[in-house]
Amino acid sequence: MKTVKIDAKGMHYTPLNQKIRAAIKDGAEEIILDNVLGQRFIGDGLRGNVRIIVNGVPGGDLGIFMSGPTCIVHGDAEHAPGNTMDKGMLVIHGSAGDAVAHSMRGGKVFIKNNIGYRGGIHMKQYDVEARPILVVGGTAHSFLGEYMAGGLVLVLGIGEDKAMTDRGIGSGIHGGEIIIRGEVDDFLLGVGAKKFKFTESDLERIAPTIKNFCEQFGYDPADFLDTNYTRIGPASSRPFASKYVWE
């Protein structure tokens, strides 16, 4: 495997991203970025199967418009990692800010700890392959899965009494599903979101995702492979169909 190391210390994001692109062009299969501190747009619009290791804290929009690469962050991430991502994987060994996986359309985003507000907003899916997945090990703030039109958001609540305590879950959701470990109080649901019973077949469906997440962070999947979840989905795929009357 051809590995390229880049020291990002004090570097602006544009030259850093240029170096990453140049390394990929030169055939790098793994790129290690050391001393990352707030540089935005790492992985922006990158294609292919390259693996990027980020040592430090990347700035906003990590992996935005990304289509293929895997990016592993040893640290926290700023807001909107996975923004409008098409394919690939982000693994964050820490927490992340707001709007994680905004409009994500494929690939996976795994966050070990917590995320901020509006996680999974506008996530969408349009065929079987293009199914985005966001897994949060800890908890998320309000408006999780807002306007969601496809894909899966899974919140495990590791280390929390309750996986979700913030409101507005799935407001305006019209596709996809939000699965939360344990019980979710009704008053936390947003407009248009509905609770469904989590069944054995649901577990079978999400078990590979749970195993995949646990692999990344060294958890034992057995701790999560039961039906102690709440599934939240859309009350309708046409949430606003009855809102209007013709002129």
Binding site: F41, V245, E247
Partner: protein
Amino acid sequence: MTLGSVPPKFKVSIDRDQCMDCGRCIENCSYGVYRREGDKILIESRKCTGCLRCVAMCPRDAITLTEKPIDYRSHPLWTREVREDIIKQARSGKIILSGMGNARDLPVIYDRLLLDACQVTNPSIDPLREPMELRTYIGKKPSKLNFRKTESGDVELETKLAPNLKLNTPIMIGHMSFGAISLNAQLSMAKAVTELGTYMGTGEGGLHRDLYPYQDHMIVQVASGRFGVNIDYLERGAAIEIKIGQGAKPGIGGHLPGEKVNEEVSRTRMIPVGSDAISPAPHHDIYSIEDLVQLIRSLKEATEWKKPVFVKIAAVHNVAPIAAGIARSSADAVVIDGFRGGTGAAPKVFRDNVGIPIEVAIASVDQKLREQGVRNEISIIASGGIRSSADLAKSIALGADAVNIGTAALVALGCRVCGNCYRNLCPWGIATQRPELVSRLDPERGAVQVSNLIRGWTMELSELMGAAGINSIESLRGNRDRLRGYMLDEGMLKILDVLPAGA
């Protein structure tokens, strides 16, 4: 129903002596006004939208369509429209949905601005024999150019120029998405702009693969729902536009009803078939100018700083300071959409009451950017109710670099502005996804009609400029001296920075 029905808006009649009973009216009316019963064609005027398809297709000119005179007691305040809206809402408890642009009888400022013409002392220019420079570059311009001398003594440009769009005419076609309008409508316009050397917008519905051959003349749009946005889409566009607001419905987002989301729309927008396409007003990763900077730069980084990025906002009261913020946000152009801007669907209360006229928005933005010394750093594109080359010339004289047309291009394709775009039944094959209706619009012929319109306006613009003694679009831009206000109040003239007629 205690409220009963309201009188029909239109009266449709057939001259039975002329009618040859061919049934084309039945075939052509997608709203179901006509039906055959026995040997007679019956008419249900109540269903008529005034789209005029039947009139246009009747081989005997046998159909008459008139707006029906008022059946209510006349009242200056409680008009027919006001009363019918109340009745509709009393029945349904819903938001009234409308199509096309603002339909209120408000004064049009363009019509109260008059262009100048030379007479004796400063002769006019004849565009027939003098070259007229209409080429327009949209994008960032440097505030100054630096040169350096090479060892061989040559002079080289040192300043790095930002990517610009080169327009052969300052007329572009604004963003109307696949989904809201048909693929044949988009294809017609794409062929026209490619032939003319100008650009059109994809709207927020993604880029259909049949439009790839025209991608060098398409501006791809990124709206809050990010429909159809991926790296391939961004790289295909000649430029990228971030849609923040729209003149027809400032402050609210887009919503394509699930009926219009068929297989093709689903694939292009990258959303499930039959589900509503919801694109709320705010981008949920933009809560400040700093956040806007972040999205602009993320788009530039993704495309390696090779493409200009525009930001579209609706014309609202504080449009000038917003534009000043955008000018400093790394954006290459600000697109301002006035309150006459069209739409496939908007709540009627927004369409008719929210926003400000494009004329004042252009003038105040241009003025603010000049005051702040950043006008040269960004282009201004104006849209929202541009109806003629006169509106175009006046927009440029008020400070725009170029205009986007929308409804005018649709009218060139056959649209009769009936305002029922949201019903997916457009009989002209424009605002519909129904294959049998879409096939009524031939993209080849449509392209000729749209390019004829733009070509005609471009020639008229040359003539108007020549008459004003101007031979370059650069000299018309922001040149308020070539405008005079007529029947405009002092306050309005001050905002427009235009003298009254006679001054």
